[in-house]
Symmetry: C2
């Protein structure tokens, strides 16, 4: 199939999916879950082909682990789909309905986006996850996974389509671009006629490529240079717990803490505490001059460090004279993902919440909570760091748009 | 000033604007309104320079009229700003706030987008309108108007900045790109570091250029190939009133009707009625074969006609066998702006509302109502025909985003 044909099919089927009832969609999700499990032999064999090629190409252990599928992981994908079936259907809700003086009743109704394009790397589980969320929200999805996972993705999509067909639902709800060449990917990013939104998932490089080359509206996800500010009045033991958690609980994720900002009046007491605490996990701390003066064991930070998402056991550390300086430092260097203040002061807490320009702003809690499941959405397609459409964790509702529905009785404009 | 400097200034000032109180913003808007009126001599002189150049370049009468400013039009711009001051401030509303099982209180708060870029053509009133809406919603705005209106725009922006300064508010809330060259415009569309969203306003060509070249998230506005479907059961006199209104009340606008779709069982009666009615305004009707068979005076439509936004006294006309055919024809050719059905049948009305994939879908009313003022928003920055972020008329609320604010008491992720 050519890209044009894929686009056309997706657009056509999106009109059907948009008016499916909730029960039909849930039945489809459960049928697909069953098909994944019953077809797991084929998926595992295909995955082994990808693994072999990846080993030959010298893929790192971490990436190999992300690529690998097991019966338990396939059961996990299936279970994920069943959970999505249990979530509330956002489609069809009428958010508001008002009568105008001329008698027109104007309402705003939640409807699917239409066709969603996903571009991602070598994590085959994204294939099933993305399908599940797009399908439940009434959207068609066109998937473009990494070439390293192509056999796995083909096999997973085959089972998804089989499940849909078993349930008497249109298979074209999911379409995979089998040609993973760069040229096709570039063309995909310009398929405005058929695709309503493109969501890239993966590393900073992938996301940058999509943002720079797509003419389709993009939702930028991911990068998190998250800060924690320890205020003058902070409970230092709480601050140490929060920084330790946000830095070390899982290092490779976008909501991990990358930079510590400390009020000068708290620094002398807090730096030794946090140094010792983070030493348990061998975290390297890179401080500014004042931090290094208090803790000579810190490495010296360069200007580059302030803007860095390490995704590693490294933390930058800066001393500030005031809350104002903390806020302007954070607004300058953060990627707008998640930031936290630890404080006992009411005014500082309120100012931080108001003035920090990020998707999620915390008082006295770890930045690690920025996540669709932790926020109670029951699912997550990504975390938006842009301001348009959706900001922060994106669940089913964020995969919808609205349309105005207007009931008249002959009104014309005077 | 270089583009980089303009971007930087806008970003900096956006942090200040984002936390201004409603009263301060309203005071600023009223001061700017006063400054426009008291500085009108300078604005009119500058506008005359633009007009002279435009006449020399042979600009058409219609465009000259859009470019021209008069004392009454300047008073109109000022009055527009005073009206925006009277509108409700969307910023700061907490849309939801829920407690999670771990005690975190997670809320979603409405905040400004940050920095809005506007690219538009030779209508100097957009300069004041766009400033007013962006300022009231707490955003900084970078304006890039057409070169034909550059002197007018410079003079208007000078008065806006004077008004802001009179009110003790930051002048950089509005910044104009004085260099209207193509190269600078292209660079502006890639200023992702500083600009959060780009809104093009103007003809289809301008919007296409921005969509294809911008790496900043764009809100696509404008193009409207709007359909009216006259159902089998329609009240034909109501249908004639609605089609006449939507086609002829104002022809050059995006919510005007461009295509008429008629059920075969209504065609024999309705076509003569609508032909006669539209003849009052000398509207040319281009029909498909079946329509031309009933009304030989109709011109024959080509395939191209179905997708066309005429913005002229022309209407295409197609006969369909069923509601299904009407819906699929409209979903295929419409630009997703506004479509209407005229019907007495409950089921047809509901199906049309559900299945037509457009920003605004009407039953028994003219498409001409798709407009921020008619919808009761009190203002409009444009009409979005995309699905991301905003769909349909965009008022103040659509110039905001949200952020999550999270109140904790020491929570860390297990």
């Amino acid at each position: 199939m050519t890209l044009q044909e894929i686009g056309q099919k997706a657009k056509e089927v999106s009109h059907v999916l948009g008016i499916l009832g909730t029960e039909e969609k849930n039945r489809g999700l459960r049928a697909v879950a069953d098909a994944l499990v019953s077809g797991q032999d084929g998926i595992l064999a295909a995955n082994e082909k990808d693994m072999e090629k990846a080993r030959e190409n010298g893929m790192s252990q971490g990436l190999l682990d992300r690529l690998k599928l097991t019966p338990a992981r396939i059961e996990g994908m299936a279970e994920g789909l069943r959970q999505v079936a249990d979530l509330e259907d956002p489609v069809g809700e009428v958010i508001s309905m008002k009568q105008r003086p001329n008698g027109l009743m104007i309402g705003q109704k939640r409807v699917p986006l239409g066709v969603i394009g996903m571009i991602y790397e070598a994590r085959p589980n994204v294939t099933a996850d993305a399908f599940g969320l797009c399908f439940k929200s009434g959207n068609a999805v066109i998937l473009k996974g990494g070439s390293d996972a192509i056999y796995s993705n083909l096999a997973i999509v085959e089972q998804i389509r089989k499940g849909l067909s078993d349930a008497g639902l249109p298979e074209d709800a999911v379409l995979l671009i089998a040609d993973t060449s760069r040229a096709v990917t570039r063309d995909f990013m310009k398929l405005n006629e058929y695709v309503d939104v493109l969501i890239p998932r993966g590393g900073a490089g992938l996301i940058k490529t999509v943002v720079e080359n797509s003419t389709i509206p993009v939702i930028e996800t991911g990068t998190g240079n998250c800060h924690i500010y320890v205020d003058e009045t902070a409970d230092l033991s709480m601050a140490a717990d929060i920084v330790f958690n946000a830095k070390t609980q899982r290092i490779g994720v976008c909501n991990a803490c990358e930079s510590l900002v400390v009020h000068k009046n708290a620094a002398e007491k807090f730096l030794p505490v946090i140094r010792e605490r983070l030493a348990q996990k061998h975290v390297e701390i890179r401080g500014d001059k004042r931090a290094c003066a208090i803790e000579p064991s810190f490495a010296e930070a360069s200007e580059e460090d302030w803007g860095k998402e390490y995704l590693d056991y490294i933390l930058s550390c800066r001393i500030v004279d005031s809350l104002d300086e903390a806020i302007s430092h954070i607004n300058r260097y953060s990627t707008g993902h998640s930031e936290a203040i630890v404080t006992k002061d009411y005014e500082s807490a309120q100012r931080f919440l108001n003035e920090i320009d990020s998707a999620a702003v915390y008082v006295n809690a770890s930045t690690r909570f920025t996540d669709g499941f932790e926020f109670g959405f029951g699912a997550e397609i990504g975390i938006s760091t842009q301001k348009l459409h959706a900001r922060g964790p994106m669940g089913l509702k964020e995969l919808t748009t609205t349309k105005y529905i207007i009931y008249g009785n002959g009104q014309v404009r005077p």
